[in-house]
Subunit: 418 residues, 2 copies
Amino acid sequence: MKKNLKKEIEGIAKMALAASRLLANLTSDAKNAVLKDMAAALLSNKQDILKANRKDISSSRSKGKAFIDRLTLDEARIRQMAGALLDVTRLKDPVGELMRGWNTDSGLRIQKVRSPIGVIAIIYESRPNVTADCVGLCLKSGNSVILRGGSESLNSNLAIYNALNSAIQKHGLPCGSISLIKTPDRKAVDILLKLNNYIDVVIPRGGEELIKKVVSSSRIPVIKHYKGICHVYVDAWADLNMAEKICFNAKVQRPGVCNAMESMLVHRDVAIRFLPGMLKKFKEAGVQIRGCAFTRKIAKWVQRATEKDYRTEYLDLILSVKVVEDLDEAIAHINNYGSHHSDSIVTDDYDEALKFLRQVDSACVYLNASTRFTDGNQFGMGAEIGISTDKLHARGPMALEELTTYKYMVFGSGQVRQ
Amino acid sequence: MKKNLKKEIEGIAKMALAASRLLANLTSDAKNAVLKDMAAALLSNKQDILKANRKDISSSRSKGKAFIDRLTLDEARIRQMAGALLDVTRLKDPVGELMRGWNTDSGLRIQKVRSPIGVIAIIYESRPNVTADCVGLCLKSGNSVILRGGSESLNSNLAIYNALNSAIQKHGLPCGSISLIKTPDRKAVDILLKLNNYIDVVIPRGGEELIKKVVSSSRIPVIKHYKGICHVYVDAWADLNMAEKICFNAKVQRPGVCNAMESMLVHRDVAIRFLPGMLKKFKEAGVQIRGCAFTRKIAKWVQRATEKDYRTEYLDLILSVKVVEDLDEAIAHINNYGSHHSDSIVTDDYDEALKFLRQVDSACVYLNASTRFTDGNQFGMGAEIGISTDKLHARGPMALEELTTYKYMVFGSGQVRQ
């Protein structure tokens, strides 16, 4: 049984590798035509998808409301999925871009050309829309993709996959172009993660648990972010009205996402002017505050923040607050306690700002803006397959370009090495 | 004992992380001044270095001649090391480069800025010059570096390190800027490779064994190349004089390196015209040939190539030869048997050439040139820390730029997310 599973998963990976060689050389027009047909297929198979989704929902009744919400599809969500595929057709094809070209002393012409990575595996949790989103981005960037969704959304994923795959078949593309691992057996993931001879990169999308599991058992390179512990630092030279708006937005506008603020740092020179009003505003919005001793002197109702609080991604209406001596303490705190995701300084002092932007070791560093902008769409990348807090290959929002590598094409006229 | 070792290695890694924050913000002038003093220190400590090297050599008498050759330093090699450091001062500093900048609809100014990776660990074998080369490149790219050389060259490495570190101290840079792991205990490497909280990337430099060991036990991302099984494919439309020169150069000029040709593919339409003269030339140069049935019909003295031959990196005057039906077979053979390092086509047909360059899935693909050009210096990068056959982060020759990542600096004027 396990041996058969290994053979099955290996078979999928081999087919994906073979398909990737062909996908790498499709024209943009050819890829866009498939994407358009995929969008159409989602709409025309709407009823099947919704029916499959109802099946998933009815087997997941015991899970919480948030879980069911992530799992549930309706007509609007299917239209969104189709729309996202059409959006991808309008994005610039990264493949074949001449990144740099130069001539060498030996008379060679070297061209650094953007190319697809090859085979991408995506391991995700309960949101079925990830199925269509990832297929769209991987196809447009010329990669084949192997999908492994959560077992609770298997029927929905399968229905979506079948619709998308009908477009692959219609255009005569190899059947390994997009694959979905259908067995609910959890061992399938362990097997998949060992296939570094066929798969080039794994992108886990989901909670910290999932990501840790993937990282610890993968022999394939992983692009990931564990969590977003984002800070806003209100400097001594901040415009305090602006600071209040930015901090409120970063915490309250959508607290459940990775680019929301989890920790607010305030320079001691402005703490007494800034904190009373700010904390009151947070209180009115239902934000629970956990503060340092200084903060608690200003607002008696504030809970005491522990060391652990400063390392916690609440993903909720909870905020840790700390008053710091100076910019250096703020930078050191962020580098030590943060998750290298997104951090902002509010200040009118350009020197202080630049020091912060340079020395804070995070994927995205902001001056006078909310951390909530760390997002492929907000950055103008058009789509997003995740946000990386790694430093190798991709950092920050990842879109089409981050799904590519490059190769050197070297044009000679008989050159040999002396 | 083991606990102490763990503490010691962790201490080194923590200091390297702290130092990296400062190195990331040094000016190019400051870094170049240190590099110049490092070069001077190598020369002024020449006697100490040579003395230490003699100690290493005398303990390694039992090893082979090639080993001793790699290990041995003399005045000329020390001058070369110093010269390489001076060369690095003349390379463009990659840190701070504005890779791309744009404005978003929300009025944010986004700048993608090249930044150091942070802490780089280099694990290498018996060549002591690697110590100075890696320190130069890591320092110029604003990274701190942790070095772990082979135990046989420990005294040499230590003497070189001490000279380099005197320049670090003279300029008041943090002592974690460059570190050398001094204990001969092999457990030190295992400990080091688990410190993914402090170290950003590991670059192993050495034989396949070393690299495999690092990959299998590292929790830190690794940039590597296992081996170079490089091909030259002589197409039906090749200029056969040119093909002969290129193939001869790729095999014979320096057979012991990763970009030398290990396997030659020949289109059947030109095999009878091309192979007799080519094989004779190889024979005269002492190259042992292992060929397919077709090849052996042309030259009876040729040994039969096994399946394993086509997967072997000889690093020696041995060559596998195969006659193929067409371009497609050549491409499929290279993608299947090769190591995705460097492969060349010799042809006058531009369509065939482009198909080869696009579909061969290797870091460097050549038209009408020897594979021997895959090298940071030959590419005009000025220096090289290795050649990657990975696809993530860096592919092909790696120099200063490949030792950097990027961050997004986002300049706002109070923007909040709607």
